[in-house]
Structures are given as structure tokens and as C-alpha cells.
């Protein structure tokens, strides 16, 4: 019996590669036991990963949908599940379900636009998926600017990919910054919001933000002062989630459920929500 579908029952995923990105962030490559991608997704969507007996948690899928072989998750060590994952080895099975949430409107609102991606710390994880999607379908978008900052050089995520691929792409400008001066770093030093203002982008762009709440707040203010309209700015939220499908009530803010109506929000939509995220 039981032919009823049930989203809460996960599939098995296998960790096939673990990349150490920074001292507290690792990127995990996950496929099904028969070596396929667990499911298709759109840029910005999330998946529920779990370790039986430890717990389940929502992570954004960092790999682009254009990657047909596997999914990647960049995970910062900060709680029970993430701590467990950080000591997991290649070959370890976990469970995976998804995809959840509303993706970035890559084929609608973003199409044909100049794109500005702004990320701080592990906030690059959800953006990497959409950045690589835009790079893959390069001709569908205008100029791409990426501003990325973190605490130090060691804390920059996907550093090799940024240097080797993104920086070498035509029409893609990458602006890196770190919070404090550091030996061996000749790039920009300073916080992301300030750097964005210094760079002073034209407002002919669609901006996508992700990072710590405080960075989002100030960057948003900065962009608005540069003349951006809030309808041009997108961000992605994170709240505690359990079900992933708008039923358990945990990620409810205003009339929205972050797991179902988000995590991607346009900033003018956020203004309509109570300040509880």
C-alpha cells in the first residue's frame, strides 16, 4: 500500500566530494546512490539535508541547475547538523529532499538585465548557483558585476573558482574585499556596504544580495542611496524551518512562509512584511 507521495520522506544522498573552502565552511557534493542528481532545481532553491539521529536542516543549493551531474552545498559549521556534516567523509550517506522555495526569476525579471551580485561571507553560497547559471547562459544577460567580501582572505568562499573562472570571463567583473588588512592581500580592504558605495554602480542593474543581516541592511541602504529602486533588488532570507512546505509554521513571517514563498524576496516585498526576519 502507501502509494501516496510524501514530501517529508527523503531520498538517500551520498557525499561524493568534500572541499574545504575556509576554516569553517566546507562544500559537499551530493548525488543519489546510483550516481545521479537527486532532483532538478532552479537557482536560489533549497534542499533539506538530514543526518538521521542528528536532525534535518535547510540548505541552499550552491551548484547551478546547469550542472547535470551533481548538487553542491556550501555549509558553514554552526549547529548540530552542520557540525556533524563537517566531520563526515566521502561515501557517507545522508538524506535529501526538495527542491523547496521560490527561485530567483532568472528567466523572467532577470532576463536581459545587467546583473549585480553582492555577497558577504557564506552568503555567496546561494548566489553561486544563480551566478553560474547566468554565466552559463551568458548571452541572456547583460554585464555581470560581483562584489564579494568576507572577514579575511581565508574566509573567501570558492576562491579558486572565482580566480580561475569568474575573473577570466568576458563581461564579468569581480570586486573582492576583506574586512581587515592582511599580509598577502593587495585587493580592497573594507566592509561590503562601503565598497558598494565606493564602486558607485549605475542603476541600470538588477541587484541580488545575500549575507549576514547587518550587511544586507547597510548594503540595501547604500544601493537605495545610489538611486536603486527596491524593485530592482533581490535578496534571500533564512529562518528556522522544519517541513519546507509551509505547514509547520516555523518560518512564518507576516502572511509569508520563507520556505514556500521565499527564500528569494524582492526588497519591496520585504517592506510589506513585519520586521521579524
Amino acid at each position: 500500500m502507501n502509494r501516496r507521495e510524501e514530501t517529508l520522506i527523503p531520498k538517500i544522498g551520498v557525499i561524493t566530494d568534500v572541499r574545504i573552502d575556509t576554516p569553517d565552511i566546507k562544500t559537499f557534493r551530493v548525488v543519489t546512490p546510483d550516481g545521479k542528481k537527486a532532483f532538478d532545481h532552479r537557482p536560489g532553491q533549497c534542499a533539506m539535508l538530514s543526518v538521521p539521529g542528528v536532525g534535518e536542516a535547510m540548505f541552499s543549493i550552491t551548484s547551478s541547475p546547469t550542472n547535470e551531474e551533481f548538487m553542491e552545498f556550501s555549509i558553514k559549521k554552526c549547529g548540530c547538523v552542520t557540525e556533524w556534516l563537517h566531520q563526515a567523509e566521502v561515501g557517507q550517506q545522508i538524506t535529501i529532499r526538495g527542491p523547496y522555495g521560490k527561485p530567483f526569476p532568472v528567466d523572467d525579471e532577470f532576463a536581459g538585465k545587467n546583473m549585480l551580485f553582492i555577497a558577504g561571507g557564506v552568503g555567496l553560497a546561494p548566489l553561486r548557483s544563480v551566478i553560474n547559471y547566468c554565466r552559463h547562459y551568458r548571452d541572456r544577460y547583460g554585464k555581470i558585476d560581483i562584489v564579494y567580501g568576507s572577514r579575511s582572505k581565508d574566509d573567501l568562499l570558492d576562491y579558486r573558482e572565482i580566480i580561475d573562472e569568474w575573473m577570466t570571463d568576458a563581461g564579468v567583473d569581480v570586486h573582492l574585499t576583506i574586512d581587515r588588512e592582511e599580509d598577502g592581500w593587495d585587493g580592497h580592504v573594507g566592509f561590503v556596504p562601503n565598497y558598494v558605495k565606493e564602486l558607485g554602480f549605475d542603476t541600470d542593474k538588477t541587484a541580488v544580495l545575500c549575507g549576514p543581516p547587518i550587511m544586507i541592511k547597510f548594503t540595501l541602504d547604500g544601493l537605495v542611496s545610489l538611486g536603486f529602486d527596491k524593485t530592482q533588488i533581490y535578496t534571500t532570507l533564512e529562518l528556522r524551518m522544519k517541513c519546507g512546505v509551509g505547514k509547520c509554521g516555523r518560518c512564518n513571517v507576516g502572511a509569508k512562509y520563507v520556505c514556500k514563498d521565499g527564500p528569494v524576496f524582492r526588497c519591496d516585498e520585504l517592506d510589506e512584511l513585519p520586521d521579524e526576519y
Partner: protein, 339 residues
Amino acid sequence: MRKCSLNSLQSVFGKIASSALLYLPVDSADGRAVFSKWDDGTPLSNALNTVRSPKDFFFPQTEDLMRFKTEGKSIEVIDVREETEDFVVFGVRACDVKSFDILDRVFLAEPRDSYYASRRDHGVIVSLACTRPSETCFCSTFGIDAASPAGDVSCWKTESEMFWQANTEKGEALIKKIEELTEECSDEAVKEQQEKTARIMKKLPLAGLNTDAFGGGKTEELFDRPEWTELSEACLGCGTCTFVCPTCQCYDIKDFNTGNGVIRYRCWDSCMYSEFTKMAHGNNRLSQKERFRQRFMHKLVYYPENNDGLFSCVGCGRCLSKCPISMNIAKVMKKLGGE
């Protein structure tokens, strides 16, 4: 409409129970009504309502979702779902019947919750009209008529008879089953009872409570109201209101390591709890005021906004009688609605 005498009610119950599990409100040893399984002769309680709501039948306080077996690096997922046995819940009050509409819109929305759906498919709800509402009742505020409850079958109990009216296909089937024990009748006695109850409803202390100040789209007006501080001041942060509430449906999913496998189970959770929204790196609702506000905003604004204006409260009054500090949705509505 059909009827049977109260003297033959036990044989009607017996007939129903011959093909499905039958639950009904029964007086427990300490004098409170609880839903219990009917066995030969179990008398129906005369109490107005049960302490716990009948949502337990469809959304139990805890249920196993799945099991895991782990060995080395590999995991096996074991589906523990079983199709629910057919069951009948008798004696559900009008308010609680309405609560299933509210829960349905959450659990049966895509993707359907198969655990809940299976119970909904196999459960038949037989409602029972109220004749003696309590001072804590305010179902009429939400457009519910206590004297004509919905459900698969509606029942009215008079001094000597029980009247039965099928409302759905499932209900027709149930009535068919007890056809021999009931007789076709006019609805005069029921009408008379309904009019009498309607008169009582108007006399209830909370009869004037209305929802004018609430509903979808009122977030901005209500969210920052200063009254929240005062209203939530004494809140202990316990989960009594949410757990006795027939419409509260927030849940938690947790893993339990049994020593020989892992059970992933679901249990009721409460937005009143301090750790409800706590994440590894912070909490977006730090004070009890914010948590308290969330509960009432959800019931009175957010839920109606997403569900065609339907409020997520049915006025059953359980939270009014059970809150340790007597703070409840009626007081919140009066305060914010400008008394």
C-alpha cells in the same frame, strides 16, 4: 432527517462500531469529557465539550513519520505509514467541525500531507448541536452556528431523541448503515431547538465580539500596536493555548535514537515557546511579546490573508478556560478592536 430514541442510542452506536472504530466524548473519572473509543454501553457525555480538541484524531500530538537504519556510512529509510482504519468521531461540536476546514487548508494544500490526508479520508465526522453554550463560547463571532453544525452527519439531541442528518456522501453511507434503527422524521423538533439555542447565543457575554478590526491586509495596522506589550506582559510562554486549540497546527520534526535505529517523528509545537524559531546563530523572535503577537497575528491576520478571509479561530473557548494567566484571543480582539 432521521431520528432514534435515546434509549436505542447504544444500539445505534453498536451498529456504527460494527464496521468502524467509534469515538465519542465520555466522562472520565475526574468528571471531564474526553474522546474515548466506544465499547458496548459506553455512555455519551453530557458535557458541552472535551478538554482536548478532536484535532488529535487527524493530527495527533506525536506520530512517527519514518524510521532509519544506519550501518557504517549507509542509511536505509523505512516508510512506516499504514493506511488508517475507518473510524467515526461522534459528538463533535460546530466549532470543532469548522476547525477541520482550517486544518485542511494547511495539510491538504499541495504538497498534501499524506499522514493527515489518510486520516481525513478514513474518518467520518458526526457533529452534535449545542444547546447549552458556556460563557466562554464565541463561535458566532466567526460565523459558526452552534445549533446547526456541519460535518459528514449532523446530530441534534433532545430530551428523548437523537436526530440525524447526512451532509456528505460519507455521511449518507453512515446513515444508510443505521437505517433500520432510525426512522424518517420531520425537522420540527430540531427547528425548535435551533431557535432556542439562537436566543441563548445572543445572551452570551462574548456575543458582541466581532472581527471588524482583523483580517488579511491588516498587518501594518496591527503589528506595531503598543497594546501588544501590555497584553503579553503576563504570558508565561507555556503551550497550553496552542495545545488545547483545535486550529493550531505548528509542528516540529525530531529524531529519536532508540539505540537500534532512529525514529523521525512529528510532534505539536508552539509558537509561544522560546526556542520555536531559534536557529544555531540567532532567534528572530527574542521576547515573549513577539512570540505572543505571532500567535494572534497568525490567527487573525496572516491566516485569513492566505485563505480567503477565513479566520484561524473557531471560538471554542478552550484557551479562555485553560490559560494559566487568563490571557486569550477574546481579550486580544477586544483590546485591539477598541473594545
